[in-house]
Amino acid sequence: MEHIKELLYKMADDLLVLGHRNSEWTGLGPLLEEDIAFSSMAQDKIGHSQALFQILHELGEPEPDTNAFMREAKLFHNAQFLELQNDDYDFSTIRHFLFDHADQLRFDNLANSSFEPLAKVARKIKGELKYHVFHADIWLNKLGNGNEESHARMQTELNNAWNYALGMFEKGDYEQQLITENIFEGEVSLQSKWLAVITPIIEKANLKIPSEKDWEPVLGGRKGYHTEHLDQLVTEMGEVFRIEPGAEW
């Protein structure tokens, strides 16, 4: 079961951490309607992570809230990309675009997983993921093709985000076993699908993917190596829960 747990942990942590980061925009979004949409998607992500923590719980891991809010940063398996601070909306939009496409493709593959509990979750959240990607694509296109400033900002943030984004596909220790047992297609296959899907959308937004010779995936997140930003995030995220663990809210 260790291989399945590893897969679930990295997915659940990605979603929890990004969900939290995106929720930091609540009340501060660029316009009311977008604030509501972005916050609602952040909530969706926390919900998806909860579903995965629930499966982990059924496999003998701690109960979801405890697992999410009581772990130290070094026990998190999310890619470093997702813990980075929001900075401006340009970076958040780029991260939303790069992550959500990977997320949709991952769940798309898992909908046919031989591990039924995960396949069930994947099928259930399909519609939400479709909206998330729809939202990301429209913003990328709008800002990439907007004015000079919006275009320059998007290109800068795409460059900044790129190597971190490649870190989402860091391989785990059980990669081959997951593939052999038809649980998950593996990170290599996922990354190539991801590139094929996002490349034309990025081009349509008049943006350029950094040249391949500069690709250096930022690895380590899956093995518990993180930036100082995750400490800050984990402390803040669990602040209320830790006042009285187990309280009914």
């Binding site: 977008e34 949409a37 729809f134």
Partner: protein, 123 residues
Amino acid sequence: MINSLDPRIAREKINEDNNIAPLTEMDQFETYEVFHQKKRGDQHVHAGIVHAPNAEMALLFAKEQYGRRGLSVNIWVVKTNNVFASDYDDADIFETVPEKQYREAGGYKVMDKINKYKKENKV
């Protein structure tokens, strides 16, 4: 520096004397009227408005504002400017001379009552 309990505000390091520029005309996006359909075959019903820079984004926002409780199967957005509306000054065009009641379709009112009864009593 504004010292807020909300970490998102605190992190922004906002100065106390941060003067917020007053709203100017046209500093908002234009509005779109949102219509949603509860189930296929039903009429689209006006749900509200959203601000958006284009129709595509209006649809994006409309879905979250008005369609996220699982009550819609379809959404329309229409630029508010494209709605040709009657003038409130002309509200008297809706008035009818009382003697022409024979021309009013009173039967519909009865149907409303019948339908309401059916709905409430699940007939």
